[in-house]
């Protein structure tokens, strides 16, 4: 290879250096650093760290019931979001995919909650759920269901579901947009052909829409799982993880270990364990979805 050719190839690589440097500094380095710190006892202040190897990971796996309870809470919210939030998003996307009046207005309205700050959404819903002056309790009273009134976010039986509702309200608009984009990419001729063949709406959905939407369903499901398992902002602005441990989630446990207990290394180890769990769940989800597609 002559020197001109080498210079030309190297010259091309120069163009990706800025992006590569940014990726290395802000993504790759912090990512690897978490694994590194997970093997140390480190308080986040003193530069001297004590190497503990796998101890933090082992302790999380065998001796930290609160962390696994928080994982279960996040899983419950995730299952609810996967079913209710995505079903609602799909129904609305199907409705807006048709030529309905004010379709664009609905799209804008449905997409407002996802763009709001989670903290702001939490504060709004805190007011709605308030035990004394909350809108929701007023509504129940109006519907002659006053006996159901309670402080929804402070009741052990309802707090987690109340938080899940907030999360789903905030999240459905995002799924709606993605699903609608998927629906609009399906050639209209297929629907016309189905109509000519005498298919009703249900048959059309099952035989035309659903098979072609499977890649979009996989995408929405995986992103719902990843997004919901990492829920935090709504928790911190509504319940703070309480009452008791009823709404603790993995991220709130990591923050508690990091800032409350001063165990930075242990919190990083929690992040590693949590990341591995998410990876496993995502791989399983993708494999199951692919198997369904082939079936």
């Amino acid at each position: 290879m002559n020197s001109y050719k080498v210079r030309e190839i190297l010259g091309n690589y120069v163009f990706i250096v800025p992006a590569l440097a940014l990726f290395a500094i802000f993504s790759a380095y912090p990512f690897l650093k978490v694994f590194h710190l997970a093997a140390f006892e480190f308080d986040g202040i003193n530069p001297q760290k004590t190497f503990v190897g796998w101890d933090n990971i082992v302790d999380i796996l065998t001796n930290n019931p609160v962390f696994w309870a928080s994982m279960k809470n996040a899983l419950i919210i995730t299952v609810l979001a996967l079913i209710i939030q995505n079903l609602l998003a799909l129904l609305l996307a199907l409705a807006c995919d048709r030529d309905i009046r004010f379709g664009n207005v609905y799209r804008v309205i449905f997409y407002i909650p996802p763009v709001l700050s989670g903290i702001v959404v939490g504060l709004i819903w805190q007011w709605i759920y308030d035990g004394n002056y909350g809108l929701f309790n007023h509504l129940l009273e109006f519907l002659r269901l006053g006996h159901l009134k309670r402080a929804w976010l402070a009741d052990g039986d309802t707090a987690l579901f109340a938080v899940a509702v907030i999360h789903m309200w905030k999240g459905f608009g995002w799924g709606f947009i993605v699903l609608l984009a998927g629906l609009q990419s399906i050639p209209r001729e297929l629907y016309e052909a189905a109509k000519v063949d005498g298919a009703n709406a249900w048959h059309t959905f099952m035989n035309v829409t659903a098979p072609l939407m499977i890649p979009v369903f996989i995408l929405v499901s995986v992103l719902t799982i990843l997004g919901t398992m990492q829920i935090y902002d709504i928790i911190v602005s509504t319940t703070g993880g309480g009452p008791g441990y009823h709404t603790e989630v993995p991220i709130s446990r990591m923050i508690s270990e990091m800032t409350g207990a001063g165990r930075f290394g242990y919190a990083c180890a929690m992040g590693v364990v949590f990341g591995v769990v998410l990876l496993i769940v995502s791989v399983v989800q993708i494999r199951v979805s692919k198997a369904m597609k082939q079936a």
């Binding site: 308080d43 986040g44 202040i45 003193n46 530069p47 001297q48 302790d59 001796n63 609160v66 805190q126 308030d130 035990g131 004394n132 309670r150 402080a151 976010l153 402070a154 009741d155 052990g156 707090a159 509504t238 319940t239 703070g240 309480g242 009452p243 008791g244 441990y245 508690s256 800032t259 409350g260 207990a261 001063g262």
Partner: protein, 396 residues
């Protein structure tokens, strides 16, 4: 601390006019963000000349052991104008001071200058007390008085007590006030040392107080997940007659409801045999960066800031308790009530022994479970003891 920005800027101008030294204040909110910011600054060696550490004594100890904080003992001792230290409340120094043989292994010394002080007590709405037929000038002193007052308020259709019990440190503060009152400090600390179990009847009695409040409907619905800011709004708007809050609330209530007619009282005594200890001491403190080239100038500025004129100015401008004894005479009546009990304060940062964060969390979360009627005091005591034993076995 960002609510004090105007006052600090004013003081910076005054200091520059007097000494020619320019001081730049950078204030950050909320406190959690600031705590992370100052830790990150330490990691990158970019701490300012003077900084605060919002955290537990464990964090301050780690900053000191890492060489980030200057020992001010000599500067305090060398003061030629009389003892600088004597002008400030001893209680305010306690949180910044490490004595010989401290559990953190920090070289004995004074590592910070207190800017102001706090005490955490109960506040009550005098108008709502009068409405319920209670004497607005005679707040409850004992647990029995407290429950009588709470029942009277309830009968008058007034919600008795609100507090930010969603912030677990508030539950820790209130419950430890009662725990020290019921069992005494030695037994309290022996529990932290692992010599007394949380299942001891005295600890169960502490938890039972929360159960009694729950059973009698004393606490505002939803307070168990409420942040203190929301609780402050509830009290300031007259939606609850009493609140457990710190002296900083004077400034907060002034902003929320300037006409609020209220007073302060100590947490009701459960046992008459011991005076009730409350959380308090230094509110905010400033530390000098040990690696700063301007260490002497930074120390001189802190000394100036702790003088009576500046302390009085800060107390008036921010409605906080001053750290300087001479500034007490300028206090408003409500702040004076909070200041009355400064000598009776304690704080986890000055405890001789410290409980593990996970055990304290299990304790406070357990109280939340009692407040929602989910668990009994005995169940919670057992769970906390299990958490304690788990932590003790971890440390072995």
């Amino acid at each position: 601390m960002s609510d004090r920005e105007d006052a600090f800027l004013e003081l910076a101008k005054k200091y520059e006019a007097e000494t020619g030294v320019r001081v730049k204040f950078d204030l950050y909110a909320p406190s959690e963000s600031y705590s992370q910011k100052v830790k990150a600054a330490a990691q990158t060696n970019t701490l300012p000349d003077v900084f605060g550490i919002l955290g537990e004594s464990r964090d301050l100890a780690s900053f000191i052991k890492s060489g980030f904080v200057a020992d001010l003992s000599d500067a305090l001792a060398k003061d030629v104008t009389g003892s600088w230290r004597d002008r400030l409340f001893e209680k305010a120094f306690e949180v910044n001071q490490f004595k010989a043989g401290n559990s953190y292994g920090v070289t004995p010394g004074v590592y910070g200058i207190p800017l102001d002080m706090t005490t955490i007590q109960f506040v009550y709405n005098k108008d709502l007390f009068a409405k319920a037929g209670l004497d607005p000038e005679a707040p409850p002193r004992t647990w029995q008085d407290f429950m009588v007052a709470a029942r009277a308020l309830e009968e008058a259709g007034i919600q008795p007590l609100v507090s930010g019990f969603g912030e677990i440190w508030m539950l820790d503060a209130l419950s430890s006030n009662w725990a020290m009152n019921i069992m005494g400090e030695e037994k309290f600390f022996d529990t932290y040392r692992g010599k007394v179990k949380y299942t001891d009847p005295d600890w169960v009695q502490v938890l039972s107080l929360f159960k009694e409040m729950t059973d009698e409907g004393v606490i505002v619905p939803g307070a168990v997940t409420m942040v203190n800011k929301t609780a402050e709004q509830t009290f300031a708007n007259g939606r609850a007659a009493m609140a457990f809050n710190g002296s900083w609330c004077v400034n907060v209530y002034k902003g929320m409801n300037p006409t609020l007619n209220y007073g302060a009282f100590l947490p009701p005594q459960v046992s008459a045999s011991r005076t009730i200890k409350i959380w308090g001491g230094a509110g905010s403190s400033f530390m000098v960066n040990n690696r700063s080239a301007r260490k002497d100038q930074a120390t001189a500025f802190l000394k100036w800031l702790a003088e009576a004129d500046q302390q009085s100015f800060l107390a008036n401008a921010t409605n906080n308790l001053p750290a300087n004894r001479k500034s007490l005479k300028d206090l408003s009546p409500i702040l004076a009530q909070f200041a009355d009990d400064i000598d009776n304060t304690t704080h986890p940062n000055v405890y001789p022994v410290h409980e593990d964060h996970r055990v304290l969390e299990a304790w406070s979360k357990g109280i939340q479970s009692i407040l929602i009627g989910e668990k009994t005091p005995e169940q919670v005591a057992q769970e906390v003891q299990t958490a304690k034993e788990r932590e003790m076995s971890r440390k072995k």
